[in-house]
Each structure stands twice: as C-alpha cells, then as structure tokens.
C-alpha cells in the first residue's frame, strides 16, 4: 500500500465508515504534515479528533493505532517508557515490558513492584520510511 488514498480505502473496507476511519485519517494527515512528531498516544489522537469535530472513544482510537502500527502498514511503531518522575524516564524494549507485566518487577532495577504497570506508558513514533512512501504514493 503506497498512497494515502489506498490506505484510507483499505481502512474503510476493514472497519467501515466509523470512528476508526476518522481517527486514522486525521492522524495520517497530521503525520504527513508533521513527520517529526515524536510522541503519539491516545490523548494526542483524541485531541486531533476533537479539533476536527469528532469525539473519539478510546477503543476506536486504539483500534486505529493498532492497525496503523500493525504488520501490514507499520506507519507508526509502538514504544514503551517507564516514567518514575519528571527526570527519570526510561525507554523500554518489549522484553522489559513483558517482564514487568508477567513478573511484576521494575525492569530497570529488577525489584518486585506490584504497581509497575501504572508507571509504564505506551506511545507511538512515526515510521519515517513508511511515511515517505505514503507521501510519495
């Protein structure tokens, strides 16, 4: 899939004319204009939707983010970070997040931490090669 139009058509075919299409479209268009956006999350897409006149649900946004970061599109990459406080923010890889989720440990210190999942956050970053293909399509 190598153009914005084809991608939007595919999303409409899969999800229909619902909020997944709306959320995906506003995000795709935003990223084409702002390819260096660093931190995409649910709140960010909700604000984009709100600015475009739609109240998007968390499920609709998450479905859109899952599709756009999925293996068939990979327009954005899923990332994780541990935020201890304003000054201590750690990027985490998938294995570290798995360990935190499955063993309830702090993946940086290795200590038991039953509340760790409240301090690990998911966000997305643009995949610049895919974005360039989309713009050039």
């Amino acid at each position: 899939m190598n153009s914005r139009e084809l991608l939007i058509q595919r999303i409409a075919k899969i999800f229909g004319d619902g909020e997944e299409l709306f959320a995906s479209t506003v995000l795709i268009d935003y990223l084409i204009l702002n390819p260096n956006t660093g931190h995409i999350n649910l709140e960010f897409v909700r604000q984009l939707g709100s600015a475009a006149g739609a109240q998007l649900t968390d499920k609709g946004i998450l479905r859109s983010l899952q599709y756009l970061s999925g293996d068939s599109v990979r327009l954005i990459d899923v990332c994780f970070e541990l935020i201890e406080d304003e000054w201590r923010i750690f990027d985490l890889n998938q294995e570290q997040v798995q360990a935190a989720r499955d063993e309830k440990i702090n993946p940086i210190t290795g200590f038991d931490d039953s509340e760790i999942l409240n301090r690990i956050f998911m966000f997305y970053r643009p995949q610049h090669d895919a974005l360039a293909r989309l713009e050039g399509g």
Partner: protein, 236 residues
C-alpha cells in the same frame, strides 16, 4: 497518558479487534507470535460462525477473504500469497521473520481436507523459526449438520495419512472437540510441523416458524434432507 494498567481496561478480551492487544504488541518470539495469532484466528472463526446466515451461499475464497481482512484489522500482515503454490492465508511479521501458513477448504467430505492437508504439508514452504519448528493451519468450512461427526471422521482419516505417520494429536484450547492440533516431522525439513485443524461451523438451518415458512426456509429443508441422507453410513 495511558499506562499499561489503564490499557487493560480499554483493550478488553470482548473487543474482537483488540483481544490479545498487549500479547500482539509484545510478541518477540515465534511461539509468542503464534499464540497471539491463534487467539485472533479463533475470534475470526467465531465471527464467521456468527454470520453463517449471511454467508451460507458464499464461495471458499470469499469466506477466506473475510478471515484475511479481519486479521489485517487486528494488526497482522495477512494476505493470500504464493509460496510454492497457491496458499490461502499467509500471515507474516517480516521484521522478525515469522510466518504462518493456512489452507482453507470447503468441507464437503474428508477427501477435501485430505487434499488441503497434503497441500499444506507437502506443497507449501512452511513458516519456521530459529528453533526449526513450523506452524500451519487447516480450516474446513463446514456447511453440513453434526459437525462433531465430521471432525471425528477427519481425525480418523488424518491418522491414516502416510505424511502424518506417528503424528501426535492434542486437544484444541479454543474449540474443544470441534478442532485439534497435530505435530509430526515436516517431510521437507524433518523438523516439527504443528498444525491447527479447525472446523468453522457454517451450517444454518433455523426451524422456527419464520425459518420454516419462508421460500428460503423451504429450500433449506430440501438441502438439509439431502445432507442428512448423504451423511448416512452406506448399507453393509
């Protein structure tokens, strides 16, 4: 911001596309990828079964396209792709080299599934991992009554296939007695080949008054009688 703890409340198991969300996002091994994929495939099959009244005259390729489109919506790279022949479903995660292949067949008789299995196990290049184990799937679209008897018949037939000699059979965690898992050495690689045998139950024959009294209902009754008659064991 959305923490992983909050995410669990959004990506619930009841949401067909978001089911297994974190498992999909965190899968770094082939086994984890397959485990997450199987949850999504089971959802796709359940969705098909719930739509059996809408797709009762649909062809094999159109039904397979529904599975592929659902998997794509759930975040997979699922396509109808060619790997040494015409494969029905290929699911890939290119950046990690994970591949799963699936063969989908209209299940009119065990010979349809035999042919499908032989294609899957001997014609196509299997998906694999650095462990050498490969996974595949055989999906039978059954539009006949009494699914269990057909699955049992396929299980017996499968046990007699030369290519599956000494196969280990295990129960299916998603569909109970209406599916099973098999494992035997792949004839090409000599390494374990694990196949999920799934029966998608697409038979639709409502016998309430609105089902009986419509023109479509009359057609279904004739079809039902024919299928029941075909499924009788031959006289000895």
């Amino acid at each position: 911001m959305t923490s992983l703890a909050n995410l669990a409340g959004i990506a619930t198991e009841e949401d067909e596309y978001l089911r297994g969300f974190t498992d999909k996002a965190l899968a770094t091994t082939y086994d984890q990828f397959i485990s997450a994929l199987y949850k999504s495939i089971s959802t796709a099959i359940e969705k098909l079964e719930a739509q059996s009244h809408l797709i009762e005259h649909e062809g094999e390729d159109a039904t397979t396209a529904r599975i592929i489109m659902f998997l794509e919506g759930a975040g997979y790279d699922a396509t109808q792709a060619n790997r040494s022949g015409n494969v029905d479903i290929v699911v890939k995660r290119m950046q990690r080299g994970f591949v799963w292949i699936g063969e989908a067949k209209k299940y009119n008789s065990v010979s349809d599934l035999r042919e499908g299995y032989l294609q899957l196990a001997t014609r196509y290049t299997p998906g694999n991992s650095n462990t050498g184990i490969s996974y595949g799937g055989l999906i039978g679209y059954l539009r006949r009554p009494n699914a269990k008897s057909h699955v049992d018949a396929w299980r017996r037939e499968f046990g007699g296939l030369e290519v599956a000699r000494d196969a280990t059979i295990t129960d299916c965690e998603y569909f109970g007695p209406l599916a099973f898992n098999s494992e035997h050495p792949h004839q090409g690689t000599g390494m374990p080949f694990r196949v999920w045998h799934i029966c998608a139950k697409l038979y639709f024959y409502p016998q309430d008054s609105s089902g009986r009294e419509s023109a479509v209902g009359a057609e279904r009754a004739i079809t039902h009688a024919r299928l029941i008659s075909e499924d009788q064991p031959p006289p000895s």
